[in-house]
Assembly symmetry: C2
Homo-oligomer: 209 residues x 2
Amino acid sequence: MTPTSSSGIAFLIDDDAAVLDALSWLLRSRGIPSKNWNSAEAFLSDYSPQMQGCLIVDIRMQDMTGFELFDRLRTLGCPMPVIFLTGHGEVSKAVQVLKQGAFDFIEKPFNDNELADRVLEALAWDKSRRARGQQSHAIHDRLRSLTSREKEVLSHIIKGQMNKIIADELNIAMRTVEVHRSHVFEKMGVKSAVELATLLAENGISMSY
Amino acid sequence: MTPTSSSGIAFLIDDDAAVLDALSWLLRSRGIPSKNWNSAEAFLSDYSPQMQGCLIVDIRMQDMTGFELFDRLRTLGCPMPVIFLTGHGEVSKAVQVLKQGAFDFIEKPFNDNELADRVLEALAWDKSRRARGQQSHAIHDRLRSLTSREKEVLSHIIKGQMNKIIADELNIAMRTVEVHRSHVFEKMGVKSAVELATLLAENGISMSY
DNA sequence: GGCAATACTGTGGATAACCGCAGCCCCTGA
DNA sequence: TCAGGGGCTGCGGTTATCCACAGTATTGCC
C-alpha cells in the first residue's frame, strides 16, 4: 500500500474546544481518524501538502473566518475538500463558497449521522482525487524525463504527422526523428503513437511546441 | 450562424406577476431576451429540448416548488442552467440544490446588477455547453455511421493494435482489416489512428467491444 | 430477379515505420 | 583530457501500412 492509498484524516478547525471534542468523539465513534486545531492560524502554520483527508472548518473563529482560511489554503494549492460549519444561515455566503469549490456547508446544530456521512464522502472524494493525481503525476514525471528535442518530436507525433514531415519541419534527417520517436515511446512507457496520444488526451495534456 | 450559436433566452418562472414583470424589465434593459411563465406546470408543458438559455425559478410557487421543477426537468434531460430565487434563507436547501447542479441560488431582495450578471454567466455557460455538445454530437453521428464490424475494428485500433493482431482476434484476413480501417478513417474524418485516438479520448469516448 | 449494402479475401506494389550498427559533433563536468 | 550525454546522420534490412484492382458471398428490399 502506498501512502496515498490511505483514507486520510479529518482535520477539525474550531476555536470552540467543546465543538472540537464533540466532533472528534463523533468521528472516532465511526472509525474516522481526526486531528484538532483551535485556530485557523495554528492550522495554517502546520499545513503541509502531504496532508491527506478533509477539513471541517467553523465559519466563525476569532483570528480568521473559515472563508479566509479557505482562500489562504487554496492559494497555497491545498486541494483537500472543505466542509464548513455555520451557526447562522447565511445563504449568500454558502452559495458563494460552494461555487468556489467548497465540498459542503452544514448548519449547526447538525445531525450526527449526516455529518459523519458527509465526512466520509469528503474522504472518499479526496482519496479518488489522490489516485487521479498520482496517475497524472507519473505522466508528468515521464514527460520531464524527455529532452527538449524529444518533447518537440512528441508534440508532432501526437498531431499524427509522419516522420518525414516532422523531419522537414525540424530540418533534421528522418533517421533522427526515428531515434527520438523510439526514445519517446520508451520513456513514456508506451508501444505505439496511438497509446501515447490516448494517454495524453485522457489526462488533458496538450503539447504545444 | 447555426441556431445553437445564439446566446439563448432567460426563461422566467414565477407565479407572482409583479416579480415576472420586474425581472423581464430588468433583463430587457440589459439586452437579455426573456420569456415568462406563471407556473411550473405551464413551463413543463411548454418545455422543449430545443430551448436554449437559462432558467430563473422562484422556489416558492403554488403548484410546485422550484426544487420539484428542477428535478422534473433534470429527469427530462434538460441541461440548462437554473438560477433559483428564494425569499427566505434556507441554507440546507441552497446547499443541496447547488450540489445537485443548480447554477446559482439568489436571495430576494436581490441586487439588480448582480442578478443580471448571474444571468449572463448562466447564458454564457449554456452557450459553451451547447458548443461542446455539438462537437460531441457530431462525433457520435459519425460513430453511428459505422457498421458494427467497423466499430469492432475501431475499438482495436484505438488500443494501438497492429492490423495483423486485429485480424487474428477477429479471425479474418489482414486485408479485410485494412479495408475496415480505411473506411473507419474516412467515416470519422481523420487521416491517422493517432488523430482518431485523440478525438475519442478528448471526448471521453471509450469503445469497449 | 436485380440492386445495394456489408463483409470478406487475394495479389502486388508503393510508402512508412522500426531497428541494429556505426559514426560524427558539441558540451560539460570530473 | 577523457567520459558521458545529447543531438544528428547514413546504410541496409524487416515489418507494417496503405491502396488499386479484382473478385466471392450473404442479406434485405423493391
